[in-house]
Symmetry: C2
Subunit: 194 residues, 2 copies
């Protein structure tokens, strides 16, 4: 059976869980606590030398890491990966943008507030600034469309909803972003996110 | 004709140039200077609202950003994207890791030294630490293999060589990494990087 190493507080890990659930895959979830060093153990580093969750291990022992690469692997051939070559490229554009320009700010601010015990005043202003810029870009992109790419939900929506839906926990205000708020509802419904 | 907006000092932009050259694509290169605000102009933001180079624009006006998504788009169907589904997933694992765990340290330290005028002592120690960790991970991965994925050069090698080959400009020492040094030579030869 497929094994998923993940921390349920991490949007990167939940993305993978949501896709596997939505596509009806059976798997064993091994809760791997980032805060207490679960990703630094010798056993875990043998699975993923990068020391990051999520990581999945196939029945034959082969391991794959990086949340969005895992989404791509399991999503391939499903309705959540566009058949059109251009749309697929645009989906990957959003996936890379998520990891470079959204997650390092929106998710990291949340992590520092919720799990590292920092107060709002202790969060580096640059983190909040860049996180707000990422949300503004999403609001603009979603102003005239229901989904980030093409005419239906894709892995881009799934990846970006993971930390956007809990952005308030990092101190980001979604009130000025009605397009994002409506989109979150659509993505949660499309992927069965409770 | 294809248009590429890029800054020749940026490995992210050079990746795209190298692949297009290697695959024999014609394109017009529009030099876009990050330092002087070239990526913040109204014209450029109309191409890429994320305000980042590289970005490519097809003849019909459609635009695509994110270096590794651009590599994926043009690389599809070439010898540099594995046909095997698992190998393709592992290639994307490296591409996402590059943007999350390598570029933000190895490339940023170089940028700060070469272009932002910082001295070695002014670079945040965390940047150097994480950059070194990224290089150590690559050294381990390349100890017993010629290429990062499968049995030939892929987009993963191309993406990772971009900043690894100039890591010394950011203050990283490749002397203790013989496997990386040999691999750089192989990747440069495979992609015709001069």
């Amino acid at each position: 059976m497929l094994t998923v190493f993940g921390d349920v507080r991490s949007g990167n890990c939940l993305k993978v869980k949501w896709l596997l659930d939505r596509l009806g895959h059976d798997y064993r979830w091994v809760e791997t606590d980032v805060m207490s060093g679960g990703t630094r153990s010798t056993d875990f580093l043998a699975v993923n030398p990068a020391g990051q969750v999520p990581a999945v291990v196939l029945e034959d022992g082969r391991a794959l890491a990086q949340s969005n690469a895992i989404l791509g692997y399991f999503g391939e051939g499903s309705a959540f990966v566009p058949v059109d070559r251009w749309d697929r490229a645009k989906m990957y554009e959003w996936l890379f943008w998520e990891q470079y320009s959204h997650e390092p700010y929106v998710a990291v601010a949340r992590f520092q507030r919720l799990y590292a015990g920092k107060t709002a005043a202790e969060i580096e202003p640059r983190l909040m600034e860049r996180g707000r810029a990422a949300l503004e870009r999403m609001e603009a992109a979603l102003a005239d469309r229901d989904w980030l790419v093409g005419s239906g939900p894709t892995l881009a929506d799934l990846a970006l909803v993971a930390y956007t839906r809990v952005a308030h926990e990092g101190g980001f205000d979604l009130a000025p972003h009605p397009a994002i708020r409506a989109w979150i509802g659509r993505v949660e419904a499309a992927f069965g996110i409770g």
